[in-house]
């Protein structure tokens, strides 16, 4: 099995490899631009016009507009770049983690507190360390 097939066999995990990096380039660069106050302001004032600056695919743009975080990940998003858009939204990685795992944020927090996400995915609560 090639490394890339081995990575693909890991459940619910997306390795930001050369292919995803090329696919997601403009999506990620849009997200990164949210680091700067003048860009945040420009995006707030004219979201569509601001997104026009980044030649994403129509599907990527739809995912961004819908804040479909798992979709963005599938379309080449890198979580550390997406985090800058999450911060712009005043959202958190726990809200986004909930969406990606199909839970509400409270369910996601409970799941964390109970330690129920193991390497093989969701399961019973882990024994304390």
């Amino acid at each position: 099995m090639s490394d890339s097939a081995k990575f693909d066999a890991i459940p619910g995990t997306y390795v930001f490899d050369g292919k995803r990096c090329r696919e997601g380039y403009h999506l990620n660069m849009f997200c990164k631009s949210m680091e700067r106050e003048e860009n945040r302001r420009a995006y707030t004032e004219d979201p569509a016009g601001y997104l026009d600056r980044y030649p994403m695919t129509p599907e990527q743009r739809r995912l961004v507009e819908a804040r479909d975080w798992l979709g963005m990940l599938h379309a080449g998003g890198n979580i550390y770049y997406m985090l800058k858009l999450i911060s712009y939204d005043r959202s958190t990685l726990q809200h986004v983690g909930g969406q990606m795992t199909g839970m509400t944020v409270d369910e996601f927090r409970d799941m964390l507190a109970e330690g129920r996400m193991g390497p093989a995915g969701l399961g019973p609560a882990r024994q304390a360390r």
């Binding site: 990575f7 890991i10 619910g12 995990t13 550390y80 800058k84 795992t101 799941m111």
Partner: protein
């Protein structure tokens, strides 16, 4: 002659920095965590290193997809906390140590490590949160810092083996510096965590405990971990643990474990902290 006197491995969870910056570190969620840092702070204060090499990863703050170096050594006089989308952290600027940094750079390149060299670089939570963890909230950080940024957010990352070897080379380079300096090496990131995908929130206590144990018992096993194993067992962001291996490689044969703290969950991840003396 300079020598490495201490090593630390520590998570660099941004929420830890935010809890401190917002004064929330005394609440029910954070108090046990900050209590766990106390022992490491006291220990490091007793060591009082003259300078620290902090091995961390940039999170698309100073670098971006346009250009991603594998290893970057910071040569500047001062490094400012990065603006990661919510303003710069209100912590002291980080003083560098250009003399030692240039010495390290020359030795590492001669030793066939293909370092990028940075004369201007903002440092993000990967570097500033560990300083907060280990030093609290002083008006100025108690020692100058040489940042060593490792690419872990874009495949392909350097292998665990390469990171370990870089640490060994840092050990040799420090030992050849003529001035008497007591140097600490701090590796940051980890422990098991995954921020993304249907497996977000991953926790693998068995992996983490074995990793902490084997820093003393079997570092060779850790240096041999491949990327697929790291991502599978420690999570896509757990890969950051390769930076602890730079630290471990720098410590030489048999460092002594001086302190350990492990906690779950902290934000979305497991938090680990381990300290060594040489």
């Amino acid at each position: 002659m300079a020598r490495i006197v201490a090593g630390v491995g520590t998570s660099h969870i941004p929420a830890v920095g935010a809890a401190l910056d917002r004064g929330e570190h005394g609440n029910a969620y954070w108090a046990p965590i900050f209590a766990g840092f106390e022992g490491a702070r006291d220990w490091l204060a007793s060591i009082a290193p003259d300078v620290a090499i902090v091995v961390y990863n940039d999170h698309a703050s100073a670098f971006s997809l346009e250009l991603t170096p594998t290893f970057t050594l910071g040569l500047a006089e001062v490094f400012r906390p990065a603006d990661q989308g919510y303003g710069r952290r209100k912590v002291p600027d980080v003083a560098g140590h250009p003399d030692l940094a240039v010495h390290l750079l020359e030795r590492l390149v001669a030793d066939e490590f293909d370092m990028a060299q940075a004369l201007e670089m903002d440092v993000d939570h990967g570097l500033t949160v560990p300083l907060s963890v280990l030093c609290g909230t002083p008006a100025a950080w108690p020692f100058p810092v040489i940042p060593l940024a490792v690419n872990v957010i874009k495949y392909p990352q350097p292998t665990a083996r390469r990171c370990f070897r870089l640490g060994e080379a840092i050990g040799r380079a420090v030992a050849s510096y003529p001035e008497d300096l007591r140097v600490a090496v701090i590796g940051t990131g980890g422990m098991s965590h995954q921020l993304q995908g249907e497996r977000a929130g991953l926790w693998n206590p068995e992996f983490d405990r074995a990793f902490l144990d084997d820093l003393t018992a079997d570092p060779e096993r850790l240096a041999a971990l491949d990327h697929v194993t790291l991502v599978r067992d420690a999570g896509s962001e757990g890969m950051e643990l390769i930076m602890w291996l730079v630290m471990r490689g720098a410590l030489g044969i048999a460092p002594r474990e001086a302190y350990r703290f492990y906690h779950y969950p902290a934000s979305n991840t497991a938090l680990g902290l381990i300290a060594f003396e040489t």
